[in-house]
């Protein structure tokens, strides 16, 4: 017999993981890009 489960627990966990991973990836990619472009601009100035 299957135990009773609250479906919202699974839905909320899936949304939290999916949205969190997407936002973290966007933020990481933007930060990496900005850092690399700053490094390139500094190298040009030398």
């Amino acid at each position: 017999m299957r135990e009773a489960m609250d479906p919202w627990t699974f839905v909320i966990a899936a949304y939290a993981i999916g949205i969190g991973a997407t936002l973290a990836m966007v933020a990481w990619s933007l930060l990496t890009m900005l850092r690399a472009e700053k490094r390139r601009d500094e190298a040009r100035k030398r």
Partner: protein, 247 residues
Amino acid sequence: MHGFANPARFLRIARWLMPLCLGVGLVTAGAALAWGLFVAPAERLQGETVRIVYLHVPAAWLGMAGWIGIAAASFTELVWRHPLAGIAARACAVPGAVFTAVCLVTGSLWGRPAWGTWWVWDGRLTSMLVLLFLYFGWMALSQASEAANGAENKAPAIFGLVGAVNIPIIHYSVIWWNSQHQAPSITIGKSAMAGSFLWPLLIATLGFTLIFAGVVLARMRGILADQQAEARLRRKVLADAPIEGAF
């Protein structure tokens, strides 16, 4: 296509296209997820857990699209020696791996209430897990070969093309083998889903695809800037170094 081989031209386009893709993608995906979570109806058999589809399906599509991007860029690199192709392949790897992992985790969270288990070793789930390991292997190989041989190494491009054999296996796994996973609900030109589920799903897929494109462009800009900084510093070091044997 060769018109975009010029990094300066690519950067001119990426400077406005990247924030546009990210901005529109985040708003579109956010609206579609809110629609799926609060407005779309529960399903007759699966109840509320069907709402996971609005994250799971876009993540599955983008996990596979990431490797299709790597394979296409690898082909372009090997055949036409396009200078941006290797950079595009490297930029596709991280978002592809992230979306593959999101697909596996959200699928597992959906499987527990729907099937009564977190995981089954059937064709669809196993081939998707293989895709995640292919991403890890490709990233390790790309990093190692760049450190050893610079941009000239062709091993990641060959791996990218060979690994693409897993994409049709993922797609047809639910047709070829008996699977716990359902058969495709949406195929080209037709859908077994009602409009109240289909529209938020299509809009979420569009939004996440735009986010994926924005992340790829941002990563390409970053890799290109790193290479330009390296080249400039190397030229400076060579110019400043004393010439051996000079009087």
